[in-house]
Symmetry: C2
Subunit: 422 residues, 2 copies
């Protein structure tokens, strides 16, 4: 099935927010046999929105509209969809009850000032639609099944805020399509680190091109690559895992050393979970990354169990006074060197009394290059009671990319260390 996602909201056309709802759904839709062919963004204007809906109904089977379900005058999505499809809007008293209850629950914490009259608008939905409850806000979503010029179309209305849309999409929309389609679909995600997109593709090009079931789709995002492997199967008759197994075996054989998860989770989460489950305490000494590594790891709730903290040492004085890097090392090899990285890692490990110390020192740019060390040169150190090592990297790209790639590599070094522990 072909889908189009229409985001309704003038704030998107003013560049205030990115259309992350569209990215989110585009990534997840193929799991349930729906493929996104178009994204459209249009403002809060009935005429222009109606035109966009008509265009979408011609070129897609599934039309998803996000935003514009709220109680204000600017919220026009339900009204416009009903008008285009020739449907009445029907009052749902239970929705109004839920809205009142929602406000009662959260009123304890926040000041809320809403007019009762405009709330009534929240309870009108196109006749015959399936209401999708909103557990994180006031406006429910809905699914409309409708014939347009003899063709069966599905029109889905979802709230704009990502924290409302994402759980609603996961809990109701995915299941709706999974139950609707004849065949079953099961996806496995293989997340990888340490291999580029084109290198990964060349390693598996022979199977990607000949493969029809399961299918293999590569993704790449900010230093990490991923494969989505999707099996189609006859419900109740075939076991999707048996269809997936031969191809997963081949992928593991060829790419196993890079695969860090068979779920769609980020490297920092995998590393954090490993550290927590094995109770490995860590501390960081950061120079060029300036706290980014610590920030990434502490983004994972519960990590305080094993992460004690870090020292951001942005100057040579601090490297010496706090991390106990020797003045001789700094003078002889420089702050960006294998030797300094090692002493930083050891210094923070001893200061924070952790099992592992990790350090990053490098030249993030745009300036700072020296004769033998270009912008992008980074050293990552790892120190334990047994040994202290350092790795050299040269990253391309701007300041932000050099810093981010340094952190990903440090997380991976930490992950490999945790894996090596029984």
């Amino acid at each position: 099935m072909k889908a189009e996602i229409i985001a309704v909201g003038t704030e998107l056309l003013m560049g205030q927010i990115d259309n992350t709802d569209a990215s989110y759904m585009s990534k997840r839709f193929p799991e349930c046999g729906v493929y996104v062919y178009y994204h459209t963004v249009v403002g809060d204007n009935r005429g222009r929105l109606a035109e966009c809906i008509n265009i979408a109904l011609k070129r897609a089977d599934v039309v998803v509209l996000t935003g514009g379900l709220g109680p204000t005058q600017d919220d026009i999505t339900k009204e416009t969809v009903a008008e285009v499809l020739g449907l009445k809007l029907v009052f749902h008293p239970e929705i109004l009850e839920n809205v009142k209850e929602y406000f009662n629950t959260i009123r304890h914490n926040r000041k809320i000032n809403i007019m009762a009259a405009s709330n009534e608008k929240l309870a009108y939905y196109p006749e015959g639609c399936l209401i999708l409850p909103n557990n994180n806000g006031t406006a429910p979503g809905c699914i409309i099944s409708h014939f347009v010029e003899g063709a069966d179309k599905t029109i889905i209305l979802l709230p704009g805020p990502p924290w409302e849309l994402q759980p609603m999409f996961d809990n109701y929309v995915v299941d709706y399509f999974k139950s609707k389609i004849q065949e079953g679909l099961k996806s496995v995600y293989l997340r990888m680190f340490g291999i580029g997109e084109s290198a990964m593709e060349s390693v598996i090009s022979d199977i990607v091109s000949t493969q029809t079931n399961p299918t293999i789709a590569p993704y790449a995002k900010k230093g990490e690559v991923m494969l989505r492997v999707t099996a189609r199967y006859e419900k109740g008759k075939q076991d999707p895992d048996l269809i997936l197994k031969p191809i997963l075996d081949i992928l593991h054989e060829r790419l196993g050393e890079y695969i860090y998860s068979d779920k769609d989770v980020e490297l920092k989460v995998v590393t954090a979970n490993l550290l927590m489950s094995k109770n490995i305490t860590v501390s960081f000494a950061e120079s060029c990354t300036g706290g980014m590594l610590s920030e990434l790891l502490t983004d994972v709730p519960g990590i305080s169990k094993v992460f004690l903290g870090s020292v951001v040492a942005y100057s040579n004085e601090i490297k010496q006074s706090v991390l106990k890097v020797s003045g001789n090392t700094l003078k002889k090899y420089g702050a960006v060197s294998e030797q300094t990285a090692k002493e930083m890692a050891q210094g923070v490990r001893l200061l924070y009394n952790t099992e592992v110390g990790i350090s990053i020192t490098g030249i993030a740019g745009p300036s700072g290059a020296v004769a033998d060390k270009p912008v992008g040169r980074v050293y990552i150190g790892i120190s334990t009671e047994q040994e202290t090592l350092s790795y050299e990297y040269t990253f391309s790209g701007d300041r932000d990319k050099v810093r981010y790639f340094s952190c990903l590599n440090a997380l991976n070094i930490l992950r490999l260390y945790a894996l090596s522990k029984g």
Copy 2:
């Protein structure tokens, strides 16, 4: 003039990247009299792209296409635009020369493997177009002026990568429209911190609704709000600053205490520049923000001049052993308290020997709330030789929002301190 932005690329439809190019241009276009009415995303498919271009030419005066200018088979934007408009593609030898030169320059640093044949594709552009040089990549952009059914349309092709698109847009596209339009337009941005979007709007609603020249447009993004004030003026006859002045005076009178810049720059950049220009050395002690504050400040190049580093103290042991917070304070008031924040700020200032020490300690959630302190409670400390203070906040929202808002407030405290210094 009405504009539509068409992003071409299957990776957008797979949810791999957000359409940040569209947000960027949507925000900047009004400065030169162009208003964005639609965003469209379509895959690398000639038929579907041609259809989208035809729709856009009907409903917009300016059609911007991003992506698909590269040398591969998948790059189809130039070919499809030429076909739709009935234009030939013309070979530009000077573009090929530039491409060769570009690769020679960067070959020193990276391994590049490209086929000479496909590079030729980079040098073909629609006849009669204005070529826009690309100083950050290989594919130039272009501007085509063309009559479609009697109406004058402008079609602009830009490369997809943001680091190529943004400077090209700033350097060429903005000026193209500014020189084209009869009247002049001048915009001033007022960036604010410490006031919410709706509070700001209510303070100025009387002038926003009656104002026609200059116009006032509010923006809000992640904890900061902004007003764009735009004056229209007759070129060579009127001084736009005189048109802007009366309204800017009123805005400063009503909102002055919140305004931190009259340019479109982030709070961290304003704070960093102030610290650097006044040579105020700083260090941070971070608990719940886990390094995020340090990461934000070190995102500004050159900051190592005044930022010495920070201590991320994620455990009570480290607060005691490294930051010298007294065990008694932690026991009596807890790690999340005014007293601990003060001792952390003072501790890092003394350890790093800086003029100012800033600390953040709080409950970022989702768990961690205690009887008298909810999730979102944060204390920010500031310590100088003269005095040590602490501020209490209660932020709503998820873990990421609590952490980010804590950092913004810390940056603002630091900014106000720097301002207070002569």
